[in-house]
Subunit: 426 residues, 2 copies
């Protein structure tokens, strides 16, 4: 039976520290090389979709109805792939365009277009404004924050709880006309794994921001990514925004990066038809069309929503034991010690760990020295600054299960050591 650190005497803490140091040195001596830093699918998942590579074989296979997918054109994407995405997201096909291999690219380009040309309801391009502010629910996705940081937006953190971002604060902040948008990962949020509640989703859709060109960047990255239980239906933000009189306030993004292949999937964007018309005009300067052959390959392989959800069950069968191993490891190794807590997601790609405040950076540093790469501490916050220095994002998908167990063991020892160092330094 382990004793919580808070209940230990200084001598007990010292003894615990010495014990963890010994364990740490032993682990370090193993010369491990493990990676829990990014949400990359593992080899077993990639192997699941090898069929994707051979669904197109003949010249006749290259047509989507009468459309020759090999040639230039059709910047909105091929009809069948737009339909598949419309079905997966629960939107209308007219609201969907299918792009290249990365939703991040579509997201960056959307922000870039707002910056260079403005949005549908902008008075001028955002680059002509003195100040653009942006709401960042935290902890959140580091690559989102890198995009808005790169354009010089002032990022304002908004705390998240199990229901999503703090809507009282959001509703207060959007009264500032300089606040132009918000990042959202509404389902199995990166990294906490929470699903935005119906109330949060409705309040977001019903917002009346001072900025008439306010934009919700709705990154539905994990829209069908349950690893525990069946597919969970989720409200369609597009029709909700429409219902509340804000039809052009949101752009939704998704991709098959974690359905088929991370580097070679298809990404999509869904928004009001008015927005779409505006974006497609600007997109017409940038490209003659995205890779339609890969779109076709995907439709032939994924077939329809039902068949796609069946594939997700096969991914789940690979992922669930990995997430279980993380949660079990944390529970066993540090649960009783009372200084840490973590999320218990049922989908998505991350476990969000809260270690003792002031020790996240140190924990990640100790991990690195012992050969375990974690996402840099602070990354889930704008400018990489976690005010409490307590959040660590765990990405269990890439390592095989045995490696993952070893990595979690290292992480736990490092979290304990960092906590003990801090307690003893006080």
């Amino acid at each position: 039976m382990m004793k919580a650190y808070s209940a230990m005497t200084r001598d007990e803490l010292k003894a615990a520290r010495d014990q963890e140091l010994k364990a740490y040195d032993q682990l370090k001596a193993k010369g491990l090389k493990l990676d829990m830093s990014r949400g990359k699918p593992g080899a077993e998942q990639l192997d699941l979709v090898i069929g994707l590579q051979s669904v197109i074989q003949t010249n006749e296979d290259c047509f989507d109805g009468s459309l020759d997918c090999r040639n230039y054109g059709t910047p909105m994407g091929i009809p069948s792939c737009r339909q598949l995405w419309a079905d997966l997201l629960g939107v209308r096909v007219e609201q969907v365009m299918v792009g290249g291999n990365a939703s991040l690219n579509l997201m960056y380009d959307t922000i870039a277009r707002a910056y260079t040309h403005g949005l549908l309801h902008s008075d001028k391009p955002w680059c002509k404004l003195d100040k653009v502010k942006w709401l960042c629910p935290v902890p959140g996705y580091d690559r989102h924050f890198f995009v808005t940081e790169s354009f010089g937006f002032e990022m304002i953190p908004v705390p998240m709880d199990d229901n999503g971002p703090d809507m009282d604060l959001v509703e207060e902040l959007i009264r500032d006309e300089a606040v132009k948008g918000i990042w959202c990962v509404p389902k199995y949020s990166n990294p906490t794994g929470c699903i935005y509640s119906d109330e949060v989703v409705n309040r977001l859709a019903a917002m009346k921001p001072a900025a008439k060109d306010f934009l919700i960047m709705w990154d539905n990255a994990y829209c069908i990514h349950e690893f525990e239980g069946d597919f969970v239906p989720f409200p369609d933000i597009l029709s909700l925004c429409e219902k509340y009189g804000n039809p052009d306030m949101v752009v939704e993004f998704a991709s098959t990066s974690k359905v088929t292949l991370p580097g070679a999937g298809v990404a999509c964007m869904a928004t009001s038809e008015a927005n779409m018309k505006y974006f497609m005009k600007l997109m017409g300067f940038q490209t003659i069309g995205y890779d339609k052959m890969n779109q076709l390959r995907h439709v032939r392989f994924l077939k329809d929503k039902e068949h796609t959800l069946a594939l997700m069950k096969r991914h789940a069968a690979v992922l669930a034991p990995k997430f279980q191993a993380v949660v079990d490891g944390l529970e066993r190794e540090i649960g009783p010690l009372g200084f840490a807590s973590w999320s218990h997601p049922k989908g998505g790609y991350f476990v969000s760990l809260e270690v003792m405040p002031g020790t996240a950076k140190r924990t990640v540093e100790l991990c690195k020295e012992a050969g375990v790469v974690m996402t840099p501490a602070g990354n889930p916050f704008p400018y990489g600054k976690d005010p409490k220095d307590s959040n660590i994002r765990i990405a269990p998908s890439l390592p095989p299960k045995e490696e993952l167990e070893a990595a979690v063991e290292v992480l736990c020892v490092c979290a304990k050591l960092a906590a003990l160092e801090k307690l003893l330094a006080e």
Copy 2:
């Protein structure tokens, strides 16, 4: 024996006009639906590369050396594909990154980055400047001009001759610090088909523009696209710029859009290592990596430079008769009439036709009414304004040969009719 229009009396012109009107009405009555508007490969060319679709079949096939091309990462592109492009362009592999399916996208993004973040040697992003001017050799590629127009650059036309842009004028114009760059299609230029002379290429590389962040956008779209004769070696602009002390002044672009598939090829960008480092840092905000599976598919299919050039010979065998049909048709139908001239390219995708000044728009309009779609007259000029209203771009690649012959017949009748209308209105 036809008589030149300039040698005809007014009555003869009237008789000719009546005859062409009759011919035009007959053609119109056929209800044709033909397209010579864009440089799209025809079905026969697309069929040549069906092997591309089945070169990857097994999980083991998905590796480029030890790199798993299915997963995230490697934003510079896979090593073997970068090497192939380095060989094709005659540059070093360190200078090459391979992107997605469209070089236009890479070009737009390069200009966009200059606008939003600035180039390596910029004092500030171009969006923070009062004025950006840009040199546009004319006639040129309409999509280039659309990009620079969309960012509000002031485009300055620079006349082209058989050796490339007028370098005396270019050297004069770059003394203005607001002039930030130039578009170039150096080999089989779009649409004139000329190859920049060694003198022009050297003078471009040796320029000393007032703007220290001046950029040559070197769109080598037709780098291996001979349809008559063998591959013509072409100077490497990167090493020439380096030689003249301007290593960071140029970015080169190319793609397999007209080697494999127009919508599903791979595009690349080549530039100095200093530029590349700068661009990759910014690109890191936009994407985790381009589609490496398609890059791998291309390397497996194209193999190497020699094998790629052999494929280009097969494209040439399809294209050469089409270009011949255009040139023969023009020679036969309007050559003796003395009011028009046209290019005789040995590579690339276009024939550039000069009709009687003041009649290009009318000619294209007449074509459209008779069911033949041409690139809008004026498009090869900034803002769509051909000052002489005489240039028409002919794209012979898409229609099958019989359709092409019919389309050229229509074009010739329309050009004659427009010329006669003009002569009779004077």
